[in-house]
């Protein structure tokens, strides 16, 4: 594979785990996901009275024999899933203390899930945002479409301020209802606009998953000597002694995380807090397994 963020052995191991939808999807093709409409699958849904114009082939003659009434036998419809990966490409996502940056880590997750989705017949699309929505690749189930997504992910360099909330509003408006929206971001912005955007997505019946990506250094904040901190987005600087302000930093971080978690829960988002030093396979396996369980219920 020519993209270093694609781990083929990992994808091969994960291919046995389907990417399930937590809610009924509205696809344009028959697929493996539950649809809100009646269809022709083998799974019985309900009986309803015959009305003129119904296909007589769907009459349940055994029920007529028992009741002298005509009943139509309804079956569940199966459809495919449209997934949209929203990747935050603002300057803050370029932060890396050790190993890979937050953007690189988010890119690996997005690429892996997109591959798994297309591989199981679902459609995958990509939206990249920084200050505004920079790139939109509509969902498609064609294998060649993956190449386009990978190429886009490979070519993006994080920069600029965060405009995630406005990008999500745009996606919520434009994307077909009942899509699978996967957000990969450090969410370093005001939580109120983000909460509004998540509610907008929820209103559009989207299945939203949030991968909250942070670097271990941002959490621990255990620097020993004075540092001059340069904002990666605005380039403003602060000289501080981390030892002295670590307690206040942790307090502010915890407050932020609590707020984000609460907003995601209220918007019924599948929230996952991850750090860039986490191994990818357990993370994705846990994600896919959890979704599978929820889909059966």
């Amino acid at each position: 594979m020519k993209y270093d963020f694609i781990d083929s052995p990992l994808l091969a191991r994960l291919s046995s785990l389907p990417v399930e939808a937590r809610i009924a999807m509205t696809g344009n093709m028959a697929g493996r996901h539950r649809s809100p409409h009646r269809g022709s699958s083998v799974e019985f849904a309900e009986y309803r009275k015959y009305v003129p114009g119904d296909d007589t082939r769907r009459l349940d003659w055994k029920a007529f024999a028992r009741s002298d009434r005509f009943y139509i036998k309804e079956y569940e419809a199966d459809t495919n899933m449209r997934a949209i990966f929203v990747v935050d490409a603002s300057g803050s996502m370029d932060f890396q203390s050790d190993g890979e940056s937050k953007f690189e880590f988010a890119r690996r997750i997005a690429a892996s899930l997109a591959y798994l989705l297309v591989n199981q017949g679902d459609a995958a699309g990509l939206s990249v945002c920084a200050e505004k929505l920079q790139l939109e690749i509509p969902p498609s189930r064609r294998a060649a479409h993956l190449e386009r997504i990978f190429s886009a992910l490979d070519s993006i360099a994080p920069a600029g301020e965060t405009g995630l909330a406005s990008a999500l509003h745009a996606i919520a408006s434009k994307a077909p209802r009942r899509s699978f929206v996967v957000i990969l971001s450090d969410l370093l912005a005001d939580t109120a606009p983000l909460a509004n955007a998540l509610r907008h997505l929820q209103q559009q019946k989207h299945d939203v998953s949030v991968f909250h990506v942070m670097d271990r250094a941002e959490i621990d904040f255990n620097f020993e000597r004075p540092h001059r901190f340069v904002d990666m987005e605005t380039k403003t600087t602060i000289v501080a002694e981390p030892e002295l302000i670590a307690e206040e930093y942790q307090r502010a971080l915890n407050s932020f995380l609590t707020s984000v978690r609460r907003e995601c829960a209220e918007s019924h988002c599948d929230y996952r807090f991850i750090t860039t030093d986490s191994p990818l396979e357990p993370l994705l396996r846990d994600f896919l397994t959890a979704r599978g369980v929820k889909a059966k219920h």
Partner: protein
């Protein structure tokens, strides 16, 4: 405070290291691109007040810890004597008050002198053993002390029965230090007894002007050893004379206020036998006459009176010596008549071992001899050979009382003379109005009873003229009785005579005590050869004399000239007692000392009630080491920043790796 290793004080500069490191660290920060800026901004805004103060306190603790270590390494010495503000000292001249009053025991049963020596010895040792010079108050000699530890063992610091002349000792020290380079100090260990410090002495002006001027003038440190003491009484024999088979001792007992009404035990030691008695006295000063019966066979002998043990045992003993009974012979110079007879009767009352021949003024030159106790002169003032004989008699210690000459005469004697005779107004008298009741022949008795001098009434009088001290005045303020000192002798002039046409002086109310006291004082010069005080000229052994002490404090058979006792020489026995001024209890207060040393660099260390430790100084490095530990522990505790546990997201944040 003095430092034994002052060079290590350079390490004090290290106290700036934490601050410098802090400042350098702030300047040498590492630049890092940071994403989670919103938390950083929030944390920086919250970092205010208490935390910033805590950081400053931490820095301060570090600096103070290093400072305390540097000071401890320099081995500071905190001394009660030198205080906290002293640098290195090259020379210390110690003026040690060895007077008898310095032997008063303090609460720790240690004498003031011993306590001072101990403190000074420790202080000198802790000061790094600067050059130590000792000027002791007894000898006044300057000597170098090789080691301060020897101070308490030296004979020149031993107890004495002497008095001290602090101004003289200070002058001695200043004279020595005038040739000494380097920083020097004068330490005075004294009980501040006023009679030793002589605050009204003119020498203090010289001392102040000498050491107040130059910048390198020595610092004076006064170690005031006037600690409170227990009850104390001091005994003194003011006069001793033999009257036949009796020895009459005029005794004075000074007591402090603490026990002035308690009975005293008085022991009389006479030629090896002791008798004790309790005496009840009241007041701080008690005077009485002690009569001791002498064996007929003994023409001479010695003894002493002693009091029971108290705070100062050195002033509990008064020594006396007696010789064979001596007839008091006086000469009455007057024209035959009533005055001559009265004077002869007053000078040699019947039954007394006294003799008073009468001579005319013409015979006076031949009759006046050094063997006479006194001369009673009721005639025109002597002239010519008689005047010359009279001068020799006076200079040798004789006493002469000149009475009004009755006849008009303008003779003068050493600028002394008489005014013309004046008569009292008709029906009136010249009455003696006031007289000195504490000094002179008209003084009150030992028991305080006054002489009935107010009964003296005169019809005629002559006013003494010339430079003399007035001891009594007539009612109109004119002098009635005056005194002129002639070397060792004294001349008295009384402006009337015991003649019925002049006054009632012959009634003996005033005449008898007046004449007897003059004769006694004249006769005392023969008795005085038997007793003296330490420091007096006759107390110093002559080179040709082989003098040994036969009795002294604790029966010490030493020839220490600074101890009281009875000594035997070729000239006979001599009782040597402590100086009179040593019994004066008055001491100077801090204000008086400051006034005496005004304009000089001086400190006064008041030891009153502060004699428990007996050290005077100590190395204080432990104190600073503890201070360093305190600051470092405080710094460590402040640095233990108890981080608030991440309770909210502890489970949601993935573990590292």
């Amino acid at each position: 405070m003095h430092f034994l290793s002052p060079s290590l004080l350079w390490f004090l500069l290290a106290a700036a290291v934490p601050v410098v490191i802090h400042l350098v660290n702030r300047r040498r920060h590492k630049t890092i691109e940071w994403a989670a800026m919103q938390f950083l901004l929030s944390a920086t805004r919250q970092y205010r007040g208490e935390k910033k103060l805590r950081h400053i306190v931490i820095l301060t603790c570090r600096a103070l810890g290093i400072t305390a270590f540097a000071i401890a390494a320099a081995r500071p010495v905190v001394s009660e004597i030198i205080g906290w503000g002293s640098g290195s000292i090259n020379t210390v001249v110690l003026i040690l008050d060895r007077s008898a009053s310095m032997e008063i025991k303090t609460a720790s049963n240690q004498s003031r002198r011993d306590s001072a020596l101990e403190k000074i010895s420790t202080s000198i040792k802790n000061l790094g053993n600067p050059r130590l010079m000792l000027v002791d108050s007894a000898s006044g000699e300057l000597q170098e002390i090789s080691s301060p530890e020897l101070l308490p063992t030296l004979s020149s610091t031993a107890p004495t029965d002497t008095a001290a002349d602090i101004p003289a000792l200070l002058n001695r020290a200043i004279a020595f230090l005038s040739d000494v380079t380097g920083r020097s100090e004068i330490w005075i260990a004294s009980d501040l007894q006023a009679s030793n410090w002589l605050p009204s002495d003119d020498r203090w002006n010289t001392i102040r002007s000498t050491i107040a001027t130059p910048p390198e003038a020595p610092t004076i440190r006064v170690l005031s050893m006037n600690n409170p003491s227990g009850p104390n009484a001091a005994i003194r024999i003011t006069e001793s004379r033999r009257a036949g088979d009796e020895l009459l001792l005029d005794v004075e007992i000074h007591r402090d206020t603490a026990n002035k009404d308690a009975p005293l035990s008085l022991t009389t030691h006479l030629n090896g036998s002791n008798t004790s008695e309790n005496i009840a006295t009241t007041g701080k000063l008690a005077r009485f006459q002690k009569r001791i019966a002498l064996p007929n066979s003994q023409s001479k002998g010695h003894g002493w009176l002693s009091l029971g043990a108290d705070a100062n045992t050195r002033d509990n003993t008064a020594y006396f010596v007696y010789g064979p009974s001596r007839k008091a012979v006086s000469l009455v110079v007057a024209a035959p008549g009533e005055s001559a007879n009265y004077l002869a009767l007053a000078a040699a009352p019947p039954g007394m071992n006294m003799e008073a021949p009468i001579a005319s003024p013409d015979q006076a030159a031949q009759k006046i001899s050094p063997e006479l106790a006194a001369v009673l002169w009721a005639a025109p003032l002597p002239e010519g050979a008689a005047a010359e004989a009279m001068r020799r008699f006076l200079v040798s210690g004789g006493h002469v009382c000149f009475f009004a000459p009755v006849t008009q005469s303008r003779n003068t004697f050493n600028n002394l003379g008489w005014s013309p005779t004046t008569m009292a107004p008709a029906g009136k008298f010249f009455i003696l109005k006031e007289w000195n009741r504490s000094d002179g022949p008209l003084r009150d008795g030992l028991d305080g009873s006054p002489v009935a001098a107010q009964r003296l009434k005169a019809l005629r009088r002559q006013i003494p003229e010339g430079d003399a001290t007035t001891l009594a005045r007539w009612e109109d303020g004119e002098p009635a009785f005056v005194r002129r000192i002639f070397d060792h002798g004294t001349a008295w002039l009384l402006g009337t005579v015991p003649d019925y046409s002049w006054s009632n002086l012959g009634d003996a109310d005033a005449l008898l005590p007046l004449v007897q006291r003059i004769i006694d004082e004249g006769n005392d010069r023969f008795q005085n050869s038997l007793s003296t005080t330490i420091g007096a000229e006759n107390a110093r052994p002559q080179n040709s004399q082989a003098r040994i002490r036969i009795h002294g404090p604790g029966d010490e058979l030493t020839a220490d000239v600074f101890l009281a006792g009875v000594e035997k020489s070729d000239n006979g026995l001599l009782a040597i007692n402590r100086p009179v001024i040593e019994d004066a209890a008055e001491s100077l207060n801090n204000g008086a000392i400051n006034s005496l040393l005004e304009g000089t660099r001086h400190t006064l260390l008041d030891q009153a009630g502060n004699d428990s430790d007996g050290k005077g100084s100590a190395e204080a490095w432990r104190l600073f080491l503890f201070a360093m530990l305190f600051f470092l522990i405080a710094e460590a505790l402040l640095c233990l920043n108890p981080k608030a546990p991440c309770t909210v997201h502890a489970t949601s944040i993935p573990k590292r790796g």
